[in-house]
């Protein structure tokens, strides 16, 4: 809420500068989101002097006005106002200035470009309507900001964050009381509350029925006649403007002012528009002054709306109602949405002569539900949903009647409120020991100190039987137990007077979960191996899914997605990596480790706990993606997976047969014996092309949650042979139907002397064959291998290639 510094000063009599006040508020009360000078919600508007007025070439009613804007500069703008004269000082907004309706943009008006606007009071947000431009005093200096000239000139506006448990901060009285307490200033209610009742009794004119007192614990109504609706006096308008509200008319302005001052929303009905009891004479009880022959038998009913009821609210919207919404109704139907907004049918107009003032307390949850239900949040609902106390209804009513009498002395105020609800609700005292509060806060306060601090905020404090007994003030609904009181004590005492201290406690050995350790190790390994972590949003939508040929049926749907691209939670990470890959150009090596969501898992989710089955399965997943112009991405991804999973027992890659039109090709299941850990796939050239990946793309995704459940081979040092190794290369031609992986496996297992088989070259001479360059490293732990032994190994390997795998040796070389 925006607070005027000078208004607060008037109520609290502090000597602090705006910045000093802001510092005080930040440290003891609430966050100051901004301090700004000037009242209006405009900026960049400066004082200019009219030098020349010429006719617009294409429009009779428009003028081209040339102004001195200061520093020897001039500007010419189009203006349609009638009250302009040469020599006037006026507020000028040039392109780039900010007005309440937004930033000023250049405009072409009837063929002439205008790069500025001479403003009216309305355009500056200082009045609801204005005739012509705002003329500034002659003394205003050209080129200076307009807010220096206007009345609110020396004011500062503090925008405070309103905590959701402190509706009293949404009022000048509430905030000034807090400021006085923290600044050490004596405070008493600064508002005038007295008024003279000269009319009959309010209850002669109005009846009130509350259907459910739990929803409306307190309802006050007061009858006032002989009112005249017109523009408010300037002081009243200024107050509203300084808090960002637009003046409307005296009655509406009074109700708004009371809300700002006391925090209690009050509403004023045009009494003539509230219907009387059906079947009764409208003049059943005539007011004593007889000014109001129609009045009498008016009845206000507080009830839930019925399905099908409608109301036209003051913002001009017709709203369909339902039982979630609490209503103020009369016998003919809804006349206002309780605690939210008034209805058009009962609104005050220029013709209004008699009014009903409402000051009521509504259940906070019901107002919030209604406000959410209708999608309508107002200054009133904002206050009610934070939990106002019923105490405020009396304050709000008395202040409203006092102001009515100040602003329109001719008004006749009836005697007594019509009141439904208990007069006072006394909150029970909170009892605790001084030690317990000092222990919690790390303070050494005495009873007397605590009492002194709390009394500044109007708490009642007693000390009896070794315990403090604290009674919260009637305007505080948020104080329920010792912790709440402790916060008040600490705020006033000074949070930063408590010095930091390290806790002492029993040593605990922190546990950590296997999948987190794995995720951490994998992240480090991948970064060392040149992969970059690119986490993304975990959402997916129809467009991207369609592009990747995925169905969203198995993905978890959000009830309220932010946009059509983010409607579901993704069950895999790789679709997101494919989004990012094209940004990396010639070499994309990226990865993500994060949670994935499976709508219908066969296994229970790992977090489902006692509510099993309610939550979806969540798994930690790893996806890596390579797209590269220079290397064989497929083997690179596979090599990375082999390294990451090198301690998995029985790791194997099982090829999944594909067919010609597949979007994803060369699919391999990554398995640990019979357990599927993940998948390795390659984009079809068609899809790669569509995704703007000219070098293709290969990805692997591994389920780390499942991996973490496996018994992994611990890392052990392998002693190495003292004898030299030898190697020989074979150039082999292998039919396309034969797996090189199987061949290499066979070669490796054919002799304990064969230590390593690596592929150093692959190419495809024809469609049905493939050439492989294999390097075989042989070594013994007991001796240097002789040339004869090596030759025997060569022929053994040759035999495996030619007979078992039907390959052909194109050449060999040993070294």
């Amino acid at each position: 809420m925006k607070f005027s510094y000078s208004w607060l000063k008037e109520l609290t009599k502090f000597k602090h500068s705006p910045q000093e006040l802001a510092d005080l508020i930040v440290l003891h009360i609430t966050e100051v989101e901004s301090i700004s000078s000037g009242a209006g919600s405009y900026s960049g508007v400066t004082v200019a002097e009219i030098l020349e007025i010429a006719n617009h070439p294409n429009a009779d009613k428009l003028h081209l006005v040339t102004l001195d804007v200061g520093l020897g500069k001039r500007a010419t703008v189009v203006c349609g106002a009638k009250n302009i004269e040469v020599g006037q000082k006026v507020p000028l907004a040039l392109v780039g200035a900010t007005l309440p309706d937004g930033e000023l943009k250049p405009a072409t008006i009837r063929g002439v470009e205008s790069r500025g606007m001479i403003c009216s009071a309305a355009e500056l947000g200082l009045a609801k309507e204005a005739e012509g431009i705002l003329v500034l005093p002659k003394t205003a200096s050209v080129g200076r900001p307009v807010n220096e000239v206007l009345d609110a000139a020396n004011d500062a506006i503090l925008d405070l964050k309103i905590l959701s448990n402190r509706p009293d901060y949404l009022s000048y009285v509430g905030l000034s009381r807090e400021i006085a307490a923290v600044a050490g200033i004596k405070w008493s209610m600064p508002l005038e509350l007295n008024f003279r009742s000269t009319g009959g009794s309010s209850s002669d004119h109005i009846g009130v029925e509350v259907k459910d007192e739990a929803l409306c614990p307190h309802y006050r109504a007061h009858f006032v006649s002989n009112v005249e609706v017109k523009e408010s006096p300037q002081w009243l308008k200024d107050k509203l403007i300084s808090s960002g509200l637009r003046p409307i008319n005296n009655l509406v302005d009074i109700s708004n002012l009371v809300m700002l001052e006391t925090g209690q929303p009050v509403h004023i009905f045009d009494c003539a528009k509230v219907s009387g009891l059906p079947g009764r004479s409208p003049t059943q009880r005539v007011s004593r002054l007889g000014e109001s022959p129609q009045a009498g038998g008016k009845k206000i009913i507080v009830r839930r709306a019925k399905a099908g009821e409608k109301i036209l609210t003051l913002d001009g919207v017709e709203r369909d109602l339902n039982p979630e919404v609490l209503l103020i109704a009369d016998h003919s139907g809804p006349i206002a949405l309780a605690g939210i907004i008034g209805g058009e049918s009962s609104a005050v107009t220029d013709l209004t002569r008699e009014i009903i003032v409402e000051s009521a307390n509504f259940n906070q949850a019901v107002i919030r539900r209604g406000s959410k239900n209708l999608g309508l949040s107002t200054d009133a609902s904002l206050r009610f949903e934070r939990g106002l106390t019923a105490y405020l209804t009396e304050l709000g009513m008395r202040r409203t009647l006092n102001l009515i009498q100040q602003v329109m002395p001719e008004a006749v105020i009836a005697k007594g409120d019509v009141l439904i609800g208990k007069r006072k609700s006394i909150a029970p005292a909170i009892k605790f020991s001084t030690r317990s509060v000092n222990d919690l806060l790390s303070t050494k306060l005495t009873n007397a100190q605590i009492a002194e601090l709390l009394r500044k905020l109007e708490f009642g404090v007693k000390y009896a039987g070794g315990r403090l007994s604290v009674s919260p003030p009637p305007f505080r609904g948020d104080i329920k137990e010792m912790a709440d009181v402790a916060e008040e004590i600490l705020r006033l005492y000074g949070i930063n007077k408590v010095s930091a201290e390290m806790p002492t406690g029993r040593m605990l050995a922190p546990k950590s979960s296997p999948h987190l350790i794995l995720a951490d190790q994998f992240k480090d390994y991948l970064a060392r191996a040149g992969f970059t972590e690119t986490p993304g949003h975990c959402f997916i939508g129809a467009d991207w899914a369609a592009k990747l040929g995925l169905k969203l049926d198995d993905e978890l749907k959000l009830l309220n997605p932010l946009n059509s691209g983010w409607t579901h939670l993704s069950g895999n990470l790789w679709p997101n990596l494919l989004r990012f890959a094209p940004k990396f150009g010639d070499v994309a090596k990226i990865f993500e480790i994060n949670s994935t969501f499976i709508k219908s898992g066969l296994q229970p989710g790992r977090h489902s706990g006692p509510e099993g089955g309610v939550l979806p399965r969540e798994e930690i997943s790893l996806a890596i993606l390579v797209g590269s112009r220079e290397v064989d991405a497929y083997r690179w991804v596979r090599g990375t997976v082999e390294q990451l999973l090198s301690n998995v027992r029985g790791l194997k890659f099982v090829a999944v047969p594909g067919s010609d039109g597949d979007l994803y090709i060369n699919t391999s299941r990554i398995m640990a014996k019979e357990i599927i850990l993940g998948s390795l796939e390659e984009l079809s050239p068609r899809l790669a092309n569509e995704l703007d990946l000219p070098h293709g793309g290969v990805w692997a995704e591994i389920n780390l949650s499942r991996l973490a459940e496996l018994q992994l081979e611990p890392l052990k040092f392998q002693p190495f042979s003292r004898f030299p190794s030898s190697s020989f290369d074979l150039s082999i031609e292998l039919p396309i139907s034969t797996s090189a992986g199987m061949l290499i496996g066979d070669i490796k297992s054919s002799s304990p002397l064969i230590r390593e088989v690596t592929v150093f070259d692959v190419y495809y001479p024809t469609d049905s064959s493939r050439s492989l360059g294999l390097r075989v490293v042989v070594q013994s732990d007991e001796r240097t291998l002789t040339e004869g032994e090596i030759a025997a190994l060569i022929s053994k390997v040759t035999d495996i290639v030619t007979t078992r795998h039907r390959g052909r040796i194109r050449g060999s070389e040993s070294e």
Binding site: A483, A486, S499, M502, E533, G536, L556, K557, F580, R606
Partner: protein, 329 residues
């Protein structure tokens, strides 16, 4: 013989003079190697008379010494030339960086936070990202129909019949604390790093998907001073030992008193995180007796901290997959 030796010397002179670093040793070997032409002559000396053996032997040895000297000289010359060549290097040329990958700044900062708190005996606790409304809100003293919920705009996954079974994307990692406290009695010291979600339009300071890092300590006699001690410790660890922190009043439904932590950074107070003493109602909700135990909790936005630390001005960069961003860390 003598003519032959002269011829060898001459051939060697030309051959060595023409050789480069790699051919120098093989060229010399042609003459003085194991099977070199001069070596052959020396081997054949046995067939000669003593007189001749002495003379030719002398000449051949002289020739060998001469060729060896030629090799040495050539070697020096080549080295000198190579050094001259190498010294033409522009030492001002920029280095060639090794090709390594990069971790997300969120990973880096999360690790720093975990290390700063595990060294105080805090344990990493986890919970689901799709969470029950019960744990995300109700048990944390955030009732439905309370404006406090406005602080947490929510993505809903499933609306349960009675409300309690509704599921949502967790709006903070605090439900992890609830789950942990339901299963453990004090002493409790946990941290819960993790991904969280808010239903809000994205801009430079808001992301609908982001990370949080929360801490919880519950034990006998835990006070505001202990909370300050722990927060000071990790703020200094992450942002530097010269960084000052201050507390100011705030409101969270699950802590009372509640505070906001500001840090004095780059010449101004910047809002960093929320914290407070665990609300007695939250302790009662998880069957911990608030008259016996007290505790504190804190929560910081991991991206927010990373933004302060690295001067990042747009939170949307974290999930952008933009190589210009991700390769800087």
């Amino acid at each position: 013989m003598e003519a032959e030796i002269q011829k060898i010397i001459e051939e060697a002179r030309q051959s060595i003079a023409a050789s480069d670093r790699s051919s120098l040793i093989p060229s010399a070997a042609k003459f003085i190697g194991r099977q070199g032409s001069l070596t052959e002559i020396l081997k054949s000396l046995g067939n000669l008379s003593i007189e001749e053996r002495k003379r030719i032997g002398e000449q051949a040895n002289q020739a060998k010494i001469a060729i060896e000297a030629m090799v040495t000289e050539r070697e020096q010359k080549l080295s000198a030339a190579q050094q001259k060549q190498m010294m033409r290097r522009d030492v001002g040329l920029p280095g060639i960086p090794p090709v390594v990958g990069h971790l997300s700044p969120v990973t880096i900062v999360t690790r720093e936070l975990i290390s700063a708190l595990t060294e105080l005996g805090f344990e990493v606790a986890e919970g689901p990202e799709v969470e029950l409304e019960l744990y995300n809100f109700d048990m944390l003293n955030i009732p439905a129909d309370h404006p406090a919920r406005d602080q947490w705009d929510t993505f809903w996954v499933k609306q349960g019949k009675d409300g309690k079974n509704s599921t949502l994307l967790r709006t903070h990692t605090s439900p992890v604390q609830v789950r942990y406290m339901l299963q453990h009695q004090p002493p409790i010291r946990i941290i819960s790093p993790g991904r969280t979600f808010r239903y809000e339009a994205e801009n430079t300071s808001h992301s609908s998907v982001f990370n949080q890092f929360e801490g919880l300590m519950v034990d006998k006699g835990i006070s505001v001073a202990h909370m300050k001690g722990v927060i000071d410790h990790f703020v200094k660890k992450i942002l530097g030992s010269e960084v000052k922190a201050r507390l100011r009043p705030s409101f969270f439904p699950f802590t009372e008193p509640s505070f906001e932590v500001d840090v004095w950074f780059n010449g101004q107070w910047l809002e960093l995180m929320g914290c407070g003493m665990v609300h007695p109602q939250v302790l009662r909700n998880v069957n911990i007796d608030p008259s016996e135990y007290s505790g504190f909790a804190f929560g910081v936005g991991t991206e927010r901290l990373a933004m302060l630390k690295y001067d990042i001005d747009d939170i949307r960069l974290f999930l952008s997959g933009d190589p210009r961003f991700v390769t800087q860390f």
